[in-house]
Amino acid sequence: MIEFKNASMKYKTNGVVALDNVNVTINDGEFVFIVGASGAGKSSFLNVIMGQEKIDSGYVRVGPYRMHNIKKRDLPYLRRMLGIVFQDFRLIPKMTVYDNVAFALRVIGMSEKKIRRRVKYVLKLVDLTDKTDNFPNQLSTGEKQRVAIARALVNNPGVIIADEPTGNLDPVLSGEIMSLFDKINSLGATVVVVTHDLELVRQFDHRVVTIESGKIVSDIPSRTAELVSAIVPSAANSQEENDG
């Protein structure tokens, strides 16, 4: 679970308010879009989750870690819980697709036998089995992003964080990538996608949190969740309890 309570943060360099009294809870297994204009505070929100920025006041919890006082030595272990996908893919050019994905497991000291099995599984999941030995410069942009997603998934993290994952892709590829996140979510992972592509967000039925000037201005649950709440009131109560 990711929980923000009255979290505020200001950039020390220019004094800009990045997060202003943010209150939001993302439950395990949820799929949440974080939307907003450039500079609204979406990336700051993710940076706090990834332990790259610390809030000035309030409380943030990611799984068992309290992010306002997390120790530097715990950051690698926090990040092993998160699968991070970047807009620019961040693939290592000198490594093949296989090695780029396996890298995330070598970091945690997994045996090569288990790495082979796990990498094979995730490459199949993202439909890249035939590109195992290719280098990043031999891939299309969509394929590169799928490799990045496979790398984020391979460690079987509880949470997938994607920062503008479709920013460099055309609408068709963007839809494909988002469907892939949908599939990952259906397998049980929590997915948090930051995007400014509202058109894409409308195509999927997921919770949408909007940030403006560091504040959460709207938090719209998925239509399915709304529907379930309307039919089964106890589900809505349980949701409120979780949010509270």
């Binding site: 790259q52 690698p76 272990y77 990040r79 092993r80 991070i84 620019d88 000291g109 288990k114 790398r151």
Partner: protein, 317 residues
């Protein structure tokens, strides 16, 4: 998961770093960045050679001083007309002085004979003209040139010693020279060690800047600083090792082919040159161990500094 333990939050923590993989990665990086590696090896080899030459110079100077020490014979003249017992007492007193290594009694007659032989005069040339003017004497070998003044004072204080013939001025000069050259060599070595550290640290730093994205990817997937440092440390160690071996080889080639230069230089002072074989353990230490240490220390310091300052974030570009 293999070797997997849990941290206090119950999350996956690497049980053991895959050192074989990381070592391979370091070696791979060394080859992939070969131009940078070659420049590091060249500069470090030059520094190590200068360090080695300084040490060789130091060894030879120490050797020269030792040779002078060995040749350093002090002649002690006993007072005239003293008994055999008193002469025996002088000998035992002299032997008891620290740093006196050898005491040889030279009788009045033997001394006279030797003086005449040294002058190239027949033994009986002055017979009936002059009486033997020399007293009984002792030839003493003294070690530890730095303490020569103290030893000399002790010799002069021995009962029934009349005069002492020595060359303290030369001894003092050599002693001063030894101290100065040792100090200069050590300063040169210290400066070169700092220069070497600086050069390797900068090379590693440039390599790290070139691999900024790799480091960020490592961070984003949960790599610890030790995991990130390891390949860079391997690179530094291998650069140091290759530079050390190269320096050792070059020094041997120099000693084998141009050793005469040293021989003629130190031969002027009547000393023999210290050969590479004699100082092999020191040269191995100088070159290989120092190279490896310099390489690894500079790499680790450099990457730790980089990670602390710039590379701590997984998301920054």
């Amino acid at each position: 998961m293999a070797n997997k333990t849990k941290n206090k939050k119950g999350h996956s923590k690497s049980g053991g770093i895959n050192t074989i993989y990381l070592t391979k990665m370091g070696m791979h990086n060394l080859v992939a960045n070969r131009s940078m590696s070659l420049s590091s090896i060249s500069v470090l080899t030059a520094c190590l050679l200068l360090i080695g030459v300084s040490f060789l110079l130091l060894f030879n100077i120490q050797n020269l001083v030792k040779d002078v020490e060995n040749q350093n014979v002090v002649v002690v003249f006993a007072k005239d007309n003293i008994s055999q017992e008193q002469l025996g007492k002088i000998e035992s007193d002299l032997k008891a002085i620290p740093d006196v290594t050898d005491v040889e009694f030279v009788s009045k007659a033997q001394g006279y004979k030797e003086q005449l032989a040294e002058l190239g005069v027949e033994e009986d040339a002055f017979d009936g003209i002059i009486n033997n003017p020399l007293p009984d004497s002792f030839r003493i070998s003294v070690t530890n040139i730095e303490q020569f003044g103290t030893t000399l004072a002790a010799i002069k204080n021995v009962e029934n010693v009349d005069t002492v013939r020595e060359s303290q001025e030369i001894v003092n000069q050599i002693s001063t020279l030894q101290v100065s050259i040792t100090a200069i060599c050590l300063i040169i070595v210290a400066v070169l060690v700092i220069v070497s550290l600086f050069i390797i640290a900068n090379t590693v730093r440039i390599t790290m800047v070139n691999r900024k994205i790799d480091i960020q990817v490592m961070k984003s997937v949960g790599a610890t600083n030790t995991f990130i440092c390891w390949p860079f440390m391997i690179e530094g160690i291998v650069i140091g090792l290759i530079s050390g071996l190269l320096s050792l080889g070059l020094t041997y080639v120099f000693l084998a082919t141009e050793g005469d230069v040293l021989n003629s230089l130190f031969g002027l002072f009547g000393s023999h040159t210290v050969s590479g074989i004699e100082v092999l353990p020191y040269l191995i230490f100088c070159y290989i161990i120092a190279g490896v240490l310099l390489g690894s220390v500079a790499s680790v310091v450099s990457i730790r500094k980089y990670l602390k300052k710039e590379g701590s974030e997984a998301n920054e570009i």
